[in-house]
Symmetry: C2
Subunit: 432 residues, 2 copies
């Protein structure tokens, strides 16, 4: 049989007995053996355990994700594999239990292939992982290994986390879908804590259908704080798209603008309502407020968890802690209040538009591995807690992907995923 290309195909193949879980797992392990020595997406894989777990799945009662093989970011606890949080301080650490999200995956019949490389504590100190499209470039971070593993085809889907831009940005750099659902959609129990107000589980895939399957099954099985104080909107088909230029756009390179124009043109060419919208002036300060909330909570949590060992972590991580510890409590509370203020503008904006279209990053993946790129294009949407995804729709002349970002302004993940699938359909149709 031909190897399934996506998670949905693999689930279908297993369901119709065209393939076994063992076949699918063997295909993934083969890809890893072939590609990962030069990419370094996986930190640890126990191939024997994978094979034996695949056999158990083949012999057991099928769950809804039977046939799906998943990479799990190293900041997410697994009871059967070491979890180092991207830090040498935890190189021998093995959690006593799975994170809630991993337990939900397993209960649904998915197979965890291994742990993917994360930057140190999901902050800025890079991994060894290389960008699969150009191995002289960073894959982005902090979910470096998950993005690279999916982009290289080693797994169809992977779990990441986003506190600033750690899902959308590496997805953009590697040319895959990276979906950060609405804040609070899934329990973060068992995941390295950076920021109570920001940390969100995210998903990588090569097609929107895989995101929908994985999201749907996890959502029904995970008791997160419901992201939805908001009502699912009455669906507007096709969705209305707002190009909402923020100040950070000035820092984007020409290619980021080209990618955006390309997608906007494709959508409006299909008769979609794509229009420029004015940014609410107070939103100008959202990236700064995001940085305030993140640095303070990172400082508290890293200091609390590491104590004196803070002296042993990277300089860039210590810089975040120092910045957070210098911040006054009133400035921190003002940032949280500004977030609430900004969120109050979402309901009126959602009347006019369903999706915001914006760059995912300042441009393509930077050269070298030392710098995982700037998360600034993601900060406002992460702070607002809105669903956001990279759409891998555009490549520049040398083949490097340049992502565009869609943001679900109504806040509802399910409507957003439906819109994302429509966007994918339009972009794919034209490219055929």
């Amino acid at each position: 049989m031909s190897t399934p290309q996506t998670g949905t195909e693999a689930i279908a193949a297993v369901a119709t007995s065209a393939a076994s879980v063992s076949d699918v797992a063997a295909g993934c392990l083969e890809k890893v053996r072939e590609l990962d020595p030069s990419i370094g997406a996986f930190r640890v894989i126990d191939a024997d355990a994978v094979r034996s777990r695949a056999k158990e799945l083949d012999d057991g009662v099928a769950g809804p994700l039977q046939g799906l093989v998943v990479g799990v970011k190293d900041v997410i606890d697994t009871a059967d594999l070491p979890t180092a949080y991207g830090s040498p301080l935890f190189s021998d650490h093995r959690p006593s239990a799975d994170a809630d999200v991993v337990a939900a995956l397993r209960r649904a019949g998915a197979l965890v292939l291994g742990k993917t490389e994360s930057t140190e504590f999901a902050l800025f100190h890079p991994t060894r992982t290389r960008n699969p499209v150009d191995d002289s470039r960073t894959p982005g971070g902090s979910s470096s290994g998950s993005a690279a593993a999916v982009a290289a085809g080693m797994v169809p889907v992977a779990l990441g986390t986003q506190t600033a831009g750690s899902v959308v940005r590496p997805a953009a750099y590697c040319g895959v879908y990276g979906f950060k659902p609405a804040r609070g959609w899934a329990s973060t129990a068992g995941i390295w804590l950076l920021s109570e107000h920001l940390d969100t589980v995210g998903l990588f895939a090569r097609c929107a259908a895989d995101l929908m399957v994985l999201y749907g099954v996890l959502r029904t099985r995970l008791a997160g704080t419901p992201g939805g104080d908001r009502q699912p909107p009455f669906p507007r088909v096709p969705p209305a798209v707002a190009v909402l230029a923020t100040d950070e756009w000035a820092a984007c390179d020409q290619e980021a603008h080209d990618a955006l124009r390309f997608v906007a043109g494709r959508l409006s060419g299909q008769g979609w309502d794509v229009r420029e919208m004015q940014m609410p002036p107070s939103w100008r300060h959202l990236p700064g407020h995001h940085g305030t909330v993140m640095s303070v909570e990172v400082a508290k949590n890293l200091r609390g968890r590491l104590g004196d060992r803070v002296a042993q972590i990277s300089e860039s991580a210590r810089a975040v802690i120092e910045q957070g510890e210098l911040c006054s409590a009133t400035k921190y509370l003002a940032a949280l209040e500004a977030r609430e203020e900004a969120r109050r503008l979402l309901a009126p904006l959602a009347v006019a538009a369903d999706l915001v279209l914006a760059p995912s990053a300042l441009g393509a993946a930077p050269e070298g591995l030392a710098f995982t790129g700037d998360p600034v294009m993601c900060r406002p949407w992460t702070l607002l807690g809105l669903p956001a995804a990279n759409v891998p729709a555009y490549r520049r002349g040398d083949g490097m992907p340049v992502g565009v970002q869609l943001v679900g302004i109504g806040g509802d993940d399910v409507s957003f995923l439906a819109d994302l699938a429509l966007v994918e359909a339009v972009l794919t149709e034209k490219e055929d």
Copy 2:
């Protein structure tokens, strides 16, 4: 007819047509005319409006609080009376709507007699109000007027607010019951905002029955954040009482200890289980953590509401703002985390005891009006969000009341009020 002495008596008198609301209101107005010139408990009363509203109540459909006349602290919005928040900056301010708690009172048929004096913004700068027991002394604060009005018999009950010790302390100084229910029991919408984590509506009365009636009716009509992540405990009758000495006890004077010993002796004399309990060591820091949370949130809220007019407020209020603005965000978050940590110890403690018995204040009301007293004895319980009340059980030789404080360690207001009524019964029986 003889004037009803308590709110419950007044409600009963009106219900049995032994008195009209107009009679009860006239009695209160007469008391105010007689006593308030020397006490200064009320900031504003519109006697004509009171009489006309009383007549409306007599002519209308009776609510459950029909016949109850209430004083309302000046930091609580009333649409029909000026609300100055204790500050000359707002001397002409008239809110456009009643606070939720006032609206609930009115819907239940209670009659608002007038606004009682509050310290400036419910902080430390004093009112003109004098202690009804000794007019050379402070009534305490910040709910100075509510405590004094109830103590002097001008109204049977009054509303106050507590952020540190602003209900329990003035109740202790004036010799009445002051009940701060569990955090979040009632909406604080329409009340001057000092601290999101601490502000709590409190009740003053001269007997436990009045607290129960007022609390019960308001609770069922007010959509507060339920104080109860806790289950109402299986009732233990009589309740077990823990004398839990905290470090602050060292600052209490001899009389505060005498009052405590008196009450402990009365209860154990009736066969109650009264025993000393060890304070969890981490609780030692709760007063400091309370001060951190309060000063930061006061700084944010006063700065936000007053802007440049902060220059025009009292030095003591500016000192709180300055303290708050100097606090780091990580120290603030550490204080909130310590609170959560301390709250986790409540469930095991509640197995051993229902009530904590402690001083309400460092001693009797201080001389003079400049200093409203130290709230330190209330800080830990307010931070923990537990129900707490002053019990007016003891007077020293010169007649000055010295309060003791009961704290409901299980966190459930209704069980706490039942226990409070039992305590009152024991103390009253012995005194007869």
